[in-house]
């Protein structure tokens, strides 16, 4: 099959053989598992259980929040012992909300079964099952799969690409999974194709350094329409956009998604998870993770439960802490150093690397850029890394964006080849963060401006209204004055003394009375209120009398008694008025 060649790229030592000598193993059940609520791109999941509750393996412990999110499931049976902030695998070393499960050792599944007749199920049924299984892209980014597999009707998919490249050194999780689980993976690809409306072109992209995996796949894809495309090994061929170019020769425009040109690219681990979810009804609670590096006696792949602490994994791999230069989650090119080994394995963790000082020595001090241009040759996206470096140092955000900083995939090829040991990718990551922060601030400040302008307008309007009211009142007063002046004048002029004006006053008074007249219902309510008020007063006066009876003089008692009498009279009056009113009302209604 014809393949294309991406620009740039590097060939770091592969170091994959170490972890491939043993088959995929399983670790003993850890005592405690820690499930972060945010292991994916999008909104963090919302816990739906309480501390102290018992859960079964596979039970939902956190719901998806909104459309771009995934639920979390209990990786084993046990008790929820904490829902709180804990350190997670994040380059910041910050805490994030997690659910802790203390295992009961039984590893008891909840009742589960797959979709019986999935071959005839509708794509929406399958998509829902994928979403409910909590599947997020397992290649590293962790984008919710159900969202990716639902590009909408306006973007029909003609090509499905399964990413089995695994170009990063040391990592063999996908390789070993293909060797041992090829049949299930192919079944998963069938389900994916069904969800996407049977795209005409289905490709499995795999580097030629995995001959065993290719050999495992090839007999299974005969007569399925799936093609296995192997291509020369080069880092980074496994990036989504890179792989699509290698396999199809098509470039995805900057800022667009593969779905915009009718393609979907899915990691091979994700296809396995989808098969388990649809056929077996198992949510995503475990994944294949590579444990490798010279500081570990045992290098192999483990089928690891999500939430397993890294320290647990190390403890069962003959880890020698003295020999280890640093702990890396992910590979040596794109991974990040862990500050603590208590952090858990998450859905996107494909590798834990514990290298010795010989393998990955400490960073050498960075030196000045000598403009050699090797970074530009290595860049797989054809950017100008040295220019980006200058602008990043000067924090020139405009130029950084003009030089397409956001197309940088942070693969680390430029840092790898830099003879001055400049941590270029770190500069780019920092600048990306700064630009995003500036964008967020711009949105905030625009919003504040809008609110401020509205505030000003409101104050102005209020002032204007007040002024207008004042003017109207002044005018009314002046008119009244003028009228009052005019009346004696007309009287003096003879003719009708008092006549017109007196009639006017009476008419005005009547109009006022009419305006004051309220509806019978309101009148009744008013009477009822006055009765209630009078009753209260009687009650209060009586209470006062009761409390005062011991200590006070006769004079005071007399006063209180008089008060009660008065209140009672008023109550009587009020009742009488109400009765009269009601009668009158009824009379009117009869009329």
């Amino acid at each position: 099959m014809k393949t294309w060649v991406t620009p740039g790229g590097v060939h770091p030592p592969e170091n994959k053989h170490q972890s491939l000598t043993l088959p995929i193993g399983t670790l003993p059940l850890p005592e405690k598992l820690l499930i972060p609520l945010s292991q994916h791109i999008g909104a963090a999941a919302t816990p739906c259980i309480e501390v102290g509750k018992k859960v079964l393996k596979g039970q939902v412990i956190a719901h998806a929040t909104g459309p771009v999110s995934v639920p979390m499931h209990a990786p084993t049976s046990g008790t929820i012992t904490a829902i709180e902030h804990r350190p997670i695998a994040h380059s910041s070393g910050m805490l994030a909300p997690c659910i802790e499960i203390t295992s009961d050792g039984r590893d008891k599944w909840k009742k589960h079964e797959g979709i019986a007749d999935y071959e005839h199920a509708s794509p929406s049924t399958l998509l829902k099952a994928v979403a409910d299984a909590g599947i997020a892209g397992m290649g590293g980014a962790g984008f919710p799969s159900a969202v990716k597999l639902n590009p909408g009707r306006q973007r029909p998919i003609h090509t499905l690409i399964v990413n089995a490249t695994e170009c990063e050194p040391y990592i063999t999780a996908d390789d070993s999974a293909i060797r041992e689980r090829a049949a299930e993976i192919i079944e998963g690809i069938g389900i994916l194709s069904q969800i996407l409306g049977n795209p005409s072109n289905i490709l499995i992209g795999i580097e030629d350094n995995k001959p065993e995996a290719i050999a495992a796949l090839e007999p299974l894809v005969l007569d399925t329409g799936i093609r296995v495309a192997s291509f020369p090994t080069k880092y980074p061929s496994g990036g989504e956009k890179q792989l699509i170019y290698i396999l199809t020769g098509k470039e995805i425009p900057s800022g667009d998604l593969p779905a915009d040109i009718g393609m979907v690219c899915v990691n091979i681990g994700t296809t396995y998870a989808i098969k388990r979810a649809i056929v077996n009804g198992e949510p995503l609670i475990s994944r294949v993770t590579t444990m490798t590096g010279d500081a570990c006696g045992i290098n192999r792949n483990y089928d690891t439960l999500i939430g397993t602490p890294v320290s647990h994994m190390l403890a069962h791999s003959e880890f020698n802490e003295q020999a280890c230069s640093r702990l890396v989650m992910g590979g040596p090119m794109m991974g990040f150093s862990l500050t603590s080994s208590d952090v858990p394995i998450v859905k996107t963790t494909n590798c834990i690397l514990a290298p010795s000082y010989d393998e990955i020595p400490d960073d050498e001090p960075a030196q000045a850029c000598i403009r050699c241009g090797m970074c530009a040759e290595a860049c797989p996206v054809s950017l100008l890394p040295q220019q980006l470096f200058w602008y990043s140092q000067a924090d020139d955000q405009e130029r950084l964006e003009a030089h397409n900083l956001f197309d940088c995939i942070e693969c680390g090829a430029c840092s790898y080849v830099c003879p001055s040991n400049i941590p270029l990718v770190q500069h780019y990551r920092h600048s990306k963060g700064e630009i995003q922060k500036a964008r967020a601030e711009k949105i905030r400040s625009d919003h504040a401006r809008e609110r401020f302008e509205f505030h000003q307008q409101r104050i102005e309007q209020a002032d204007k209204d007040k002024e207008a009211k004042r003017a109207a009142r002044r005018e009314a007063a002046e008119q009244a004055k003028a009228k009052a002046k005019a009346a004696p004048d007309s009287a003096a002029a003879g003719g009708n003394p008092m006549g017109g004006s007196a009639a006017d006053i009476i008419a005005a008074a009547q109009a006022r009375a009419a305006a004051k007249q309220v509806s019978p219902e309101q009148q009744q309510a008013k009477f009822e209120r006055s009765i209630a008020g009078a009753e209260m007063r009687v009650q209060m006066a009586e209470e006062k009398l009761a409390t005062a009876s011991d200590s006070s003089t006769d004079e005071q008692k007399n006063i209180l008694n008089a008060a009660i009498e008065g209140a009672k009279q008023k109550l009587e009056q009020a009742k009488a008025r109400l009765a009269e009113h009601v009668e009158q009302q009824n009379g009117e209604q009869v009329d």
Binding site: S92, A366, C369, H430, F452, R458
Partner: protein
Amino acid sequence: MIDTIAQYPILAALIALVGLGILFGGLLGFAAEKFKVEGDPIVEQIDELLPQTQCGQCGFPGCKPYAESIANGDAINKCPPGGQTTINAIASLLDVPAPELDAEHGEEADLKTVAYIREDECIGCTKCIQACPVDAILGAAKLMHTVIADECTGCDLCVEPCPVDCIDMLPVEEGIKEWHWPAPVAPANLIASDRRATQ
């Protein structure tokens, strides 16, 4: 006519030039009317760059008035919330040298803050509500007030009018979502011989 022009070729040039002059003059006049720019666009551009806290630390009642004043030649270093970033941005827009922040108007804060009303102590006087330039405080007379944290620009204007001093300016906490990579240590200016010496 043609004969006269043929006789005095200078006339032809004169007519052509005057004609062109009238034509383009008319065109320019028309364009000036038709494509007239409402308001001063530079004010809008400066206002875009200001942080919109509306705090008044520059001595003007809001960001827009200060933008207008800058357009009329005022100093560009009077905005502490914007800090050096804003000064640099305005300087590059106006093509003038970027001065340091004028300390007279305050210091650039390291942390963003947001107002917080200690609700138990609030007496409901509405003074802070009137002071807030972006209507981010909610409440009514004799009822407890509270700040809508998302709308608060951290301008400080509500703190001073409060008769019972129940408003605090709290730093905005950065969570894991807001975190981004710190800048790596700048490359040391070493040369090869220095390196050998340090080893």
